[in-house]
C-alpha cells in the first residue's frame, strides 16, 4: 500500500500539490507513481519562468523501462525547479513527498487548488486501481 499524505492535493495522473504559506505550490509525483515507474534514472524538470497551462506535460521521469510525462496540475508560472534531481533522481523514489519534489509554481487561480483531489479522494482512486 503506497503512502498518501493528508493535507496535500492530488491529481488523477498521480501528481501531488502542496500549497505553501507564500501562496505558491510545490508539485511532485505520488508514492504510487514512483513505485509504478520503478527506479528512476533521469528526471527532467521545467525551466524557471516557464508558463504552464493545467494539464500541460512539463517534466519527464525516466526509469530503465519507460519515460513518462508529468503534467502540471494547475495553470501558472514555474518559480523554482529541483535541479538537484539531475544527479540524484533516486530522491523521487526514496522521498517522493520531500526531497523528490519536482517544481514550484505561482498559481494563476488559487481556488483551482481546492478543486484537485483530496487525500481521501486520491486514496479512493488508488483503491479502484486495486491498491
Amino acid at each position: 500500500m503506497s503512502t498518501v499524505i493528508d493535507g496535500l492535493h492530488y491529481t488523477q495522473s498521480h501528481e501531488w500539490v502542496r500549497l505553501e504559506s507564500d501562496g505558491t505550490v510545490t508539485v511532485g509525483i505520488s508514492d504510487h507513481a514512483q513505485h509504478a515507474l520503478g527506479d528512476l534514472v533521469f528526471v527532467e524538470v521545467p525551466a524557471v519562468g516557464r508558463a504552464l497551462t493545467a494539464g500541460e506535460a512539463c517534466a519527464v521521469v525516466e526509469s530503465v523501462k519507460a519515460a513518462s510525462d508529468v503534467y502540471s496540475p494547475l495553470a501558472g508560472t514555474v518559480t523554482a525547479s529541483n535541479e538537484g534531481l539531475a544527479n540524484a533522481s533516486e530522491a523521487v523514489n526514496q522521498d517522493p513527498y520531500g526531497n523528490g519534489w519536482l517544481w514550484r509554481m505561482s498559481v494563476a487561480d488559487p481556488s483551482a487548488v481546492s478543486a484537485l483531489l483530496s487525500a481521501d479522494q486520491y486514496r479512493a482512486e488508488l483503491a479502484k486501481l486495486g491498491e
Binding site: 525551466a47 525516466e62 526509469s63 530503465v64 523501462k65 519507460a66 519515460a67 510525462d69
Partner: protein, 455 residues
C-alpha cells in the same frame, strides 16, 4: 517457410468463407476515379536469363567514366577487406536483433563505431547512425528545437552554402512541425557565410545556426568565429562535416570557445561505394548534456553480474517502441550494415591512414586547380578549399558535362540543376583515387570540349 502468403486456393477458400465473389469486389466501396490504374508501361515478365542480359546491357550504357563528381558523395579507395568481411553471413544484416543483448558482436561493433565517430568529431556521444547526411541534418534541427532550454522561436538559420538537396530534405521533414528555416546569404566572392546577413539576426530569438565545413562548394569558413558569434547570441550550433576531412581539420567539438552542439554528416566516404541513390548512412554526435534529446539508439559498455565486460542498448526509454508518439525520433537500427562497413574501414586505415586519404585528396584537388588555371578555368571563390571546388565556366555546365562524357569523363556536378542561380559553374571533386595522368586527361578533355563548342 514459403514467402508466398496465399495461393489461389487459399484466396478462393477465404472468399467463400466471407461470402464475397472476388477480391475485386472487396474494393467496390472506393469510387472508380480514386482507384490506381494498371501500370501500363511495365512490359511482360522475362525469364531469369533474359532479364540478366537486359540488365547487363543497360548497365553497360553507363560505362565506366573517370569520375570527378562529388557533391556530397565521394569516390575513395575501399580496401577489399572491408566488404569481404561485411558480406560474411554472420554480419550481413542491417538490423539489430530484437533481443539485442544476445548479439554482443553487433553491439560491440556499434559501440566501436560510436567511439570512432565521437573521437573524429571531438564530441562526447554518438548514436548508432542515421539514414543519410540530409536526414541527419533534419533530425539535428528537430533535436535543437527540443534541446534549447530557452528559445521558443523554432527558427533555424540555414546558410545558402549548405547542400541544396539537404536544405530541401530538411524543409520537407521539418515544415509540418512549424520549424522556420531562414536562408542566410553567401558572400559572392568567397562562398562563405555572409557575416552581415548573419548579424541581421543578432538579438532576436533564434534556435540554431547550421554551419557546413567544408560547405557545399568545398570552401572552408572561419568556423571558430561563427560558433562564438552563435553562442554569444544564445544560438545552438549544428555542424555538418565531411568525416574524411576531420582527420586533418579541427573537429567541431573544438570549434570556437565551446565547440558545436550537434554534429552530423554523410558517412558514405568511410567505406561505402558510390551508388545512385545509395544506400548511404548518416552520423550524429552531441555533447553529454543533450544526450537525452538525441534521436536513435546508443550502445553502452557495462559489466555483468560476474564483473565481465559487456554491451547493452541504453537510453531506450526515449525510443519509439516505449515512448510511442513522444519518442525523440522514429529512427532505430537504420543503416547498421553500412555503419559496420565504416567501422571496419576506419579500423583498417587508422587515424594516420585516414589523414593520408584526406591529404592526398587535398593535394590532387590543388594540383587540378593549378592545371585548370593554365587553360583559363578558375575557381568561383577566392577561398581555402578542401577536396572540392566550384569552377566558373564560359558555357552552361550541362553542355560541358555531356561533351566530356563522350570522352569517358564524368566532369563534375551541375550546381545549376539544383540551384539555378549558379549557372555556368561546375563543382569538381578530386580524391586520392585520381592519378596525375587522370588530372592531365581531365584538363586536356575539358580544353578540347570547350574548343569544340567554339569557346
Amino acid at each position: 517457410m514459403a514467402f508466398i502468403p496465399h495461393t489461389d486456393e487459399d484466396i478462393r477458400s477465404m472468399l467463400r468463407a466471407i461470402g464475397a465473389p472476388s477480391v475485386e469486389a472487396l474494393f467496390d466501396e472506393i469510387p472508380a476515379n480514386l482507384r490506381a490504374k494498371e501500370l501500363e508501361k511495365i512490359p511482360p515478365a522475362l525469364n531469369e536469363m533474359s532479364i540478366g542480359r537486359l540488365m547487363q546491357a543497360r548497365a553497360a550504357q553507363d560505362g565506366r567514366l573517370l569520375n570527378f563528381i562529388g557533391a556530397g558523395a565521394y569516390e575513395h579507395h575501399i580496401p577489399a577487406a572491408v566488404w569481404s568481411i561485411i558480406t560474411r553471413g554472420e554480419i550481413y544484416s542491417a538490423y539489430t536483433p530484437y533481443q539485442a543483448e544476445a548479439s554482443q558482436g553487433t553491439l560491440q561493433t556499434i559501440y566501436e563505431f560510436q567511439t570512432m565517430i565521437a573521437s573524429l568529431t571531438g564530441m562526447d556521444v554518438s548514436n548508432a547512425s542515421m539514414y543519410d547526411g540530409a536526414s541527419a541534418l533534419a533530425e539535428a534541427c528537430l533535436m535543437a528545437v527540443r534541446a534549447h532550454r530557452t528559445s521558443k522561436s523554432m527558427r533555424i538559420l540555414m546558410p545558402a552554402n549548405v547542400h541544396p538537396i539537404y536544405r530541401s530534405c530538411v524543409a520537407a521533414i521539418t515544415e509540418s512541425q512549424h520549424i522556420k528555416l531562414e536562408t542566410i546569404a553567401v558572400e559572392r566572392d568567397s562562398g562563405r557565410v555572409d557575416r552581415q546577413a548573419l548579424q541581421a539576426h543578432a538579438g532576436s530569438d533564434v534556435t540554431a545556426l547550421v554551419i557546413a565545413q567544408p560547405n557545399f562548394f568545398g570552401v572552408l569558413d572561419d568556423v571558430d568565429a561563427l560558433v562564438d558569434w552563435a553562442h554569444t547570441q544564445n544560438i545552438m550550433v549544428i555542424a555538418i562535416v565531411n568525416p574524411t576531412s576531420l582527420s586533418i581539420l579541427k573537429p567541431p567539438g573544438r570549434w570556437g570557445t565551446k565547440g558545436a552542439d550537434i554534429v552530423v554528416g554523410e558517412g558514405q566516404p568511410l567505406g561505402v561505394p558510390l551508388a545512385s541513390g545509395g544506400p548511404y548512412f548518416g552520423f550524429m554526435t552531441t555533447r553529454q548534456e543533450y544526450v537525452r534529446q538525441m534521436p536513435g539508439r546508443i550502445v553502452g559498455r557495462t559489466v555483468d553480474l560476474d564483473g565481465k565486460s559487456g554491451f547493452a542498448l541504453t537510453l531506450q526509454a526515449r525510443e519509439q517502441h516505449i515512448r510511442r508518439g513522444k519518442a525523440t525520433s522514429n529512427i532505430c537500427t537504420n543503416q547498421g550494415l553500412l555503419m559496420s562497413a565504416a567501422t571496419i574501414y576506419l579500423s583498417i586505415l587508422g587515424p594516420e591512414g585516414l589523414a593520408r586519404v584526406a591529404k592526398h585528396s587535398l593535394a590532387k584537388a590543388n594540383a587540378l586547380r593549378q592545371r585548370l588555371a593554365t587553360i583559363g578555368i578558375k575557381p568561383v571563390f577566392n577561398a581555402t578549399h578542401f577536396h572540392e571546388c566550384l569552377y566558373r565556366l564560359p558555357v552552361p555546365a550541362s553542355k560541358l558535362i555531356a561533351s566530356m562524357a563522350q570522352s569517358g569523363i564524368a566532369a563534375g556536378f551541375d550546381v545549376a540543376s539544383v540551384a539555378p542561380e549558379w549557372s555556368n559553374t561546375l563543382l569538381v571533386a578530386t580524391t586520392e583515387t585520381k592519378t596525375d595522368e587522370d588530372l592531365n586527361q581531365y584538363v586536356q578533355v575539358l580544353a578540347q570540349s570547350l574548343k569544340s563548342m567554339g569557346v
